[in-house]
Symmetry: C2
Subunit: 422 residues, 2 copies
């Protein structure tokens, strides 16, 4: 059997499993999730041995420290992966929700019911915990998954997937609810991306290169989680203390994540007073400032001159681009032009200005007087998230269980025909 045929067989098997998963009661799915957590803990020795193989290969290949750290599992990390599974089991099941329900003049009743999507492909890079995190969220929402992880983590992924499958089967779930692609070459991604007969959705998790490759090959919907180039706009109506606090929080609380700030926009009217204040607070946290000429004239040696590419760079580091803008309108235009439509904030005491900003900034999440760092499934109260979608179709912003579902219409009648009298 060649690779393509083997992957298509996985697709058929996943489709079969998904039909069974779609109609399982919540209790059955939750019991299976707990069983999967138990089996993962029970398989810790095998998983860590497999992980050691990956780590040895990483060392031999001269992988960097950051990459190797992403790969590394230990008992503590495995326990927290298992805890994560139990937390998902405890979340409410989105499947079966009646989203809408209405009657028509001819007497038929129409119900819009939330149902699983079906089969979801997850294509990801080095972190082996994604094998569990993604499969488990998809399963809770009644979906079968086909996982294709990076080659660096192949041994770890196999061991984790085996433990999850054992746990699922022990609880009576179809064996192919979760499958891991055994191939790590690019061709296997292409076969998945072209397999629209079996895969309803692909979610790539990783860098821009991976996402680009999947987007250009995929025949089915792809939900993308691109960069966050997030802005804070300090409006003339801002409380300066609050604007400083939110800028420092957005930039420094965890700089390496997609909802961290990358650009500060300052209303020209308050720039002379506000810029030195915010700069001092940021410099105290070790932040490098890259400012446009107007801001630089105020900041002097506290900043360096920004280049054009700074406005569209996701630093993921203690660097902040700073720009003085004439007014709210210019701030909105800058954000819509250079931003990534992820998460953007206005600080102001002027409610009309805030509402105007939130209406016109074309981003998944817009914040008024609160940190962009709250753009997150947990902070939104979704319990767990599969990522933060930068797409506008189907799922936008923090993407959790509800966004892993579709819907169907159920129409109940008493013999009604279109051609009237029966």
């Amino acid at each position: 059997m060649d690779i393509k045929e083997e992957i298509h067989q996985m697709g058929r098997d996943a489709l079969d499993a998904s039909r069974q998963l779609a109609v399982l009661p919540t209790e059955t799915k939750d019991a299976a999730l707990c069983s999967m957590a138990d089996h993962l803990v029970a398989s810790a020795e095998a998983v860590l041995a497999a992980n050691a193989e990956d780590l040895a290969a990483a060392e031999a290949a001269g992988l960097g420290a950051a990459m190797t750290d992403r790969l590394r599992l230990d008992r503590g990390r495995l326990d927290s992966v298992a805890d994560g599974i139990r937390q998902v089991a405890a979340l409410p099941d989105p499947v079966g929700e009646i989203m809408d329900d209405w009657g028509r003049p001819n007497g038929i009743r129409i119900e819009q019911r939330r149902v699983p999507i079906g089969v979801i492909g997850i294509i990801y890079e080095s972190r082996p915990n994604v094998t569990s995190d993604a499969a488990v969220l998809c399963l809770k929402a009644g979906n079968a998954t086909i996982l294709r992880g990076g080659k660096e983590a192949i041994h770890s992924n196999r061991a984790i997937a085996a433990a999850l499958r054992e746990g699922a089967v022990a609880a009576g779930l179809p064996e192919n609810s979760i499958q891991l692609v055994p191939f790590v070459d690019r061709e296997s991604v292409r076969h998945m991306a072209e397999m629209d007969r079996y895969l309803d959705l692909i979610i790539p998790r990783g860098g821009a290169g991976l996402i680009e490759a999947v987007v250009s090959m995929a025949r089915m919907p792809v939900i993308k989680h691109y960069d966050g180039i997030c802005h804070l706009f300090a409006h003339r109506g801002a409380d300066p203390e609050m604007a400083v606090a939110l800028t420092v929080d957005g930039k420094t609380q965890k700089p390496g994540v997609c909802n961290a700030l990358e650009t500060l926009l300052v209303d020209a009217e308050i720039a002379p007073a506000f810029l030195p204040k915010v700069a001092d607070a940021l410099l105290a946290k070790g932040v490098e400032l890259r400012a446009d000429e107007a801001s630089l004239a105020v900041l002097g040696e506290r900043a360096v001159l920004a280049q054009e590419q700074d406005w569209s760079t996701e630093y993921l580091d203690l660097i902040l681009a700073v720009k003085t803008v004439p007014d709210l309108d210019a701030a909105v235009r800058h954000i819509n032009e250079y931003g990534s439509h992820h998460s953007d904030c206005i600080v102001t005491g002027d409610a009309a200005a805030a509402e105007d900003f939130m209406a016109r900034v074309d981003s998944a999440a817009v914040f008024w007087n609160s940190s962009t760092r709250f753009s997150d499934g947990e902070e939104f109260g979704f319990g767990a998230e599969i990522g933060i979608s930068t797409d506008k179709l189907h799922a936008r912003g923090p993407m959790a269980l509800r966004e892993l579902t579709s819907y169907k219409y159920l129409v109940r009648g008493q013999g009604q025909t279109k051609g009237q009298p029966s």
Copy 2:
């Protein structure tokens, strides 16, 4: 300027227009729609002259009668297109709806607000009325459109688009709210499909060839409106009169549409009594029956033997495939295997069987004791539809104004930071 650059410029212009459309009040959009209807009626002479050019070209090219009829406009058809625009103006505006709204323990409030998608590309074939129907629905939902019609209708499309733009501009809307691609070659479709920087969504309207081509090229989401291979399952618990009436309605009331029946499945327990009854009613309407061996044994000369491909053919004609199945489970498996996940029906007095069928058939719309011909935006009460989606992501089944929107999260706080104390 080459074709690619010209189409990208249309994309930039559409994006600019979409930002303005996104925040327009409902009254402004509705007034613009009425103005567009007026301008279309006022331009009737120019539109019909352009249409005559297309018809002459069609005749010269030897286009068939059906194709030519689809192309043809007259005063009556134009008036009904204009009426359609006024009806869309009268529909409720989905934009601005607060879909959800909740608070978090730290005091931030999160609102999920319905917003336009942005820029929508519509790629379609011969019918010039799509130029208006699609653009108008998209506009009501606050979206800008780039339309690319078939070459057979290029003169008609230009005249209609010009009238709509005039009407929009006269009412104060941005000129580029609606744009028509002036090129009719395949390359122009490819440039649109690759232009994910500007187009948020492509909707192809036409045959499978067109949809396939767009799907394989597109880098942005595509919502597909594929075939309807719709089934009616006459369950052992069916009222035979009702099952006959719904079969006749589903097959003959309008055979050329996607929600018409293509296959009748009959529960073996009632086949000997039911099949002759339904066959007589269908034959009286001129329907050709293609039956599996078991059904043929009952029907004799009233049917011919079905071939394997009959189970997956969308006849769009007075032909019906007929199969006897041992039970409900076999009916569900047949539909999920051979159907197109569009619209399927069970006729039965047994509520448990009906609910089981509706839960397990993986289709956009499932009907109990009512005609699949009701799978339609108007019949569902949506007022107008852009098509019936056979996709599971974003929009499934009848797709109307609500499905032409996205959403954003608005988060309002009082200075909350992730790192707690401010």
